[in-house]
């Protein structure tokens, strides 16, 4: 993507007033001990989260976990019951202060884009600009290019665009006033699987090009892992874990997070000196429990299959789901009868009912059995 004229943040007033603040906080988001209830139901119970500037944080969680409410609190559409929200080091909610959403200079991309149906693409994009900027209109093409759209679409109306195009226009509209922060509420969930990846990548590139901080709310773990710099996993109104995509996937805080973030094979074993023997063979434990009974997290892609070698544990192939680039193989370990799923490359897929040997590569995470 071409470099954009918007790389310098236009949030002049807050930059000036925040000049005494440490620079890294300038476009960051800080959420401190925020709670929110609707009537009797407690939706957020003490959220703490820091979104570093110029990065994308994904808030990942199942529906009803409170992630959208958190987003709406940051946008200013809702008021927290307790706690504080800071944008660029300035309190915008909490402690008796409340900054109206239209003064927060936060870009918002809702589900399905919500392009104004009565305005064409150009008018949608320039909606947040001042009258003079609107009339000049020269930024429209720049912004369309930034989100990877043909400038020719500027005269179309929203219903004449595909879902992916609508999302990109919605992002361009949110970026147009040069916000310090963009909030994306499940922006890709209504798109076809094929469109989702391309649109997601275009969005990330546009955000990087403009050095905009972003918060993405999603229930789709692959979306969160592939697009975000930081993933916050939410569960029941609380944050279960914050980390890089790799940390969250490879070393989840607990088995619940592990199973939400990706497919998991959980093995019970006795640990001694960071190693364990299980019915899947010997396993190397990376951290957690040192000795005694433990539950181990094995990711399906850690399970390797070999046809004839004497190494590993013998298993029978029950069935195979072939995806082309890879395949999920369901196996029954002969010795213990346990069912496990292995993810193998699509190049060499065993036939159902054939006998294979499996072994686990790489370290696994261990959790104490009570948890």
């Amino acid at each position: 993507m071409t470099s954009s004229p918007m790389t310098s943040s236009p949030m002049i007033p807050s930059q000036m007033s925040a000049s005494l603040m440490p620079p890294p906080l300038m476009n960051s988001v800080t959420v401190r001990a925020v709670t929110k209830a609707f009537g009797a139901s407690e939706v957020l119970r003490g959220i703490d989260l820091t979104v570093p500037e110029q990065s994308m944080t994904a808030i990942l969680g199942p529906s009803g976990c409170g992630k959208t409410t958190l987003l709406r609190l940051i946008a200013g559409f809702e008021v927290p019951d307790a706690g504080q929200i800071l944008l660029g080091g300035q309190v915008v909610s909490g402690g008796g202060r409340f900054v109206a959403p239209q003064r927060r200079r936060v870009g918002y991309v809702p589900q399905e884009g919500a392009l104004f149906p009565h305005l064409d693409v150009a008018d949608n994009i320039t909606f947040g600009l001042t009258g003079r900027e609107r009339r000049s209109g020269h930024r429209v093409e720049e912004l369309l290019e930034l989100v990877g759209l043909d400038p020719a679409v500027r005269l179309r109306f929203p219903h004449q665009l595909s879902g992916g195009q609508q999302q990109r226009v919605a992002l361009a509209r949110a970026l147009a006033p040069g916000p310090s922060l963009i909030l994306l509420d499940e922006p890709f969930s209504s798109l076809d699987a094929g469109l989702r990846e391309g649109t997601g990548r275009a969005v990330v590139q546009a955000l990087k090009a403009t050095a905009t901080t972003a918060v993405l709310v999603t229930h789709d773990q692959s979306e969160a892992l592939s697009l975000a710099d930081q993933v916050a996993v939410m569960r029941d109104g609380a944050i279960a874990q914050v980390g890089t995509p790799h940390e969250v996937y490879r070393a989840p805080a607990d088995l619940g997070v592990a199973e939400f973030v990706g497919a998991a094979v959980v093995v019970d074993a006795d640990l001694a000196d960071g190693a364990a023997s299980s019915d899947l063979g010997p396993l190397y434990v990376m951290a957690g429990v040192d000795a005694g009974p433990a539950r181990l997290l094995v990711r399906p892609e850690q399970i390797q299959l070999t046809g004839s070698s004497q190494e590993g544990v013998e298993a029978r192939v029950v069935d195979v789901s072939y995806f082309g680039h890879d395949a999920a193989v369901r196996l029954q370990v002969l010795a213990s009868g346990r069912m496990v799923t292995a993810r193998v490359l699509g190049l060499s897929v065993p036939l159902p009912d054939s006998l294979v040997r499996l072994s686990v590569t790489g370290p696994v995470a261990a959790y104490s059995p009570e948890v």
Partner: protein
């Protein structure tokens, strides 16, 4: 925003509650009147043979018209939407067009040609011809939105087309049929002009007769009570029958084209059927009007009177429409944006207005204003208020449909983009709801221009509308003199009726 959220709706809530109370004046009045009259006198006034006769007449006419309009409306809708009937686009417009001819003009068209249409049979035929589009519109819309896969599945399961229609299509049409026929029934209960011309007395015509011979005496008000009760019964019955079905909203239509039944040899008889229906419902009244306009009587064309009356009707129509829309807006907004038990209750209560015939509204306002608000008595204010009360439900339905076009997410996006509440209203909400509001205004306008009974009772001295001038002339058998006023009403109604044939507005017929 937290603070504003709490207080803003409270103000709106109070305002809406006040509007609901105003809309319910007729209901309060009739109930209060019946109670204050006392049991004994109420019984003597209600429990008499004449009321029995009126009850029988009214009941027979309502059931007959419901049946006949259901058959005509559904049949016509099916032919237009689901068969290869030639000229479907034209038929679509022609079959809705009778809505542009008020029922009393339709009866005038018939009765000025032949007295044979007087009495039950004629009333049944002519009133049904006037009101079948109210069934045709929702049923046609529903047929169009119906998933063809349902019928295909039934066919695959071995059902004949007829059995498929009965077992699969008809149950799907239930909400549309119930909704449409309920509206027909309420219209028939409130119908005055057509039935008076056809010499078929019902509660509404009897109330008018009693009003003429005793102003707002107890007998008239008791009958109003009975009429109101009948309307409320109908409304409750329909709610029960409809159960949990909701009226289907019409989306953009399915992407799939619906397979149409080939009519083949049946084409000619079917064309004859819709042609005959159009001829009876539209051809006769328009032909008759043309005849009277051409031959006329001794009276010349009173251009000045016609222009002045038209201006009055237009002015009242605009004022009534604007007031109805303004009163409906806060309630509709609350219903869409702050749905809760209280707002649902308020919405339901305003719909009761739909069940109160114009003559009852007018009687109530006459008495209430004489007693409590002599300043507005016999003024246009009261008349316009009556229109607003009567047509509040129409306005509500259109505004709700319009607000559905502007869900809150647009407000949020606009605010995130830096627009304050007022700017958001101006740049986002209003442009989105404007077409719906325009259509709603047009619908109320149409209703006001052709309103007769409330206008007869409430019009201040010297105020003449097209409807009352038409009525004055046609009831003194001056058919030639009545015709131009009728023609003007038809001409004014035509554009709004045409609007109803467009997909987008089909669902908001009241």
């Amino acid at each position: 925003m937290g603070g504003s959220r709490a207080t803003y709706p409270r103000l709106l809530l109070l305002l809406s509650a006040a509007i609901v109370l105003v809309a319910m004046i007729p209901l309060f009045f009739v109930v209060g009147y019946v109670v204050s009259t006392g049991w004994d006198e109420a019984v003597t006034l209600i429990w008499r043979p004449r009321v029995g006769e009126l009850f029988r007449n009214t009941g027979l006419l309502v059931t007959g018209c419901v049946g006949l309009t259901a058959v005509l409306g559904t049949g016509a809708a099916w032919l237009v939407e689901r068969t290869t009937l030639p000229g479907r686009r034209v038929w679509n417009v022609l079959l809705v067009a009778p809505l542009a001819v008020p029922a009393f003009v339709n009866s005038f068209g018939w009765v000025s040609l032949t007295a044979r249409v007087e009495g039950y049979a004629g009333a049944l035929l002519i009133v049904s011809l006037s009101y079948y589009p109210l069934v045709f519109l929702p049923v046609a819309a529903m047929l169009r939105g119906l998933d063809p896969a349902l019928e295909e599945t039934a066919a695959a399961l071995g059902h004949s087309p007829w059995r498929t229609f009965i077992r699969v299509v008809l149950p799907q049409l239930r909400p549309a049929l119930l909704g449409g026929t309920l509206i027909v029934a309420l219209h028939v209960l409130a119908e005055f002009g057509a039935l008076q011309l056809l010499r078929f007395p019902t509660f509404t015509t009897a109330i008018y007769d009693l009003y003429r011979s005793s102003f707002n005496g107890p007998a008239a008000n008791m009958l109003a009570g009975v009429l109101l009760l009948s309307c409320l019964l109908l409304l409750t019955l329909e709610l029960r029958l409809r159960g949990h079905h909701r009226y289907s909203r019409l989306g953009g239509g399915s992407a799939r084209t619906i397979p149409r039944r080939r009519l083949g040899r049946a084409t000619a008889p079917c064309l004859l059927a819709v042609g005959g229906l159009t001829a009876l419902a539209l051809g006769v009244p328009l032909g008759s009007l043309t005849y009277w306009l051409a031959t006329g009587s001794s009276t010349s064309f009173p251009i000045g009177d016609l222009a002045r009356t038209t201006a009055t009707s237009l002015g009242l129509g605009v004022a009534g429409a604007i007031l109805a829309m303004a009163l409906a807006f806060p309630i509709a907004w609350l219903c869409v944006r702050r749905r809760g038990r209280l707002t649902i209750l308020m919405e339901r209560l305003t719909y009761f207005g739909n069940a109160v015939p114009g003559i009852v509204v007018a009687l109530a306002l006459v008495t209430v204003s004489i007693r409590f608000a002599p300043a507005v008595y016999q003024t246009l204010v009261l008349l316009v208020l009556a229109y607003a009360i009567m047509f509040l439900p129409r306005a509500m339905v259109s505004i709700r449909a319009a607000l559905d076009q502007a869900p809150p997410v647009f407000d949020e996006v606009a605010r995130a983009l830096g627009s304050g509440p007022l700017e958001t209203l101006r740049r986002v909400t209003l442009p989105l709801v404007a077409p719906g509001l325009g259509a709603g205004t047009a619908l109320v306008f149409l209703a006001v221009v052709t309103e007769l009974t409330a206008t007869l009772l409430l019009a201040p001295i010297g105020t003449r509308t097209l409807a009352t001038q038409f009525w004055g002339n046609s009831s003194s058998i001056a058919y030639g003199a009545a015709a131009p006023y009728a023609a003007l009403m038809v001409i004014l109604s035509a554009p709004v009726t045409l609007l109803l044939t467009r997909n987008r507005w089909r669902s908001i017929t009241v």
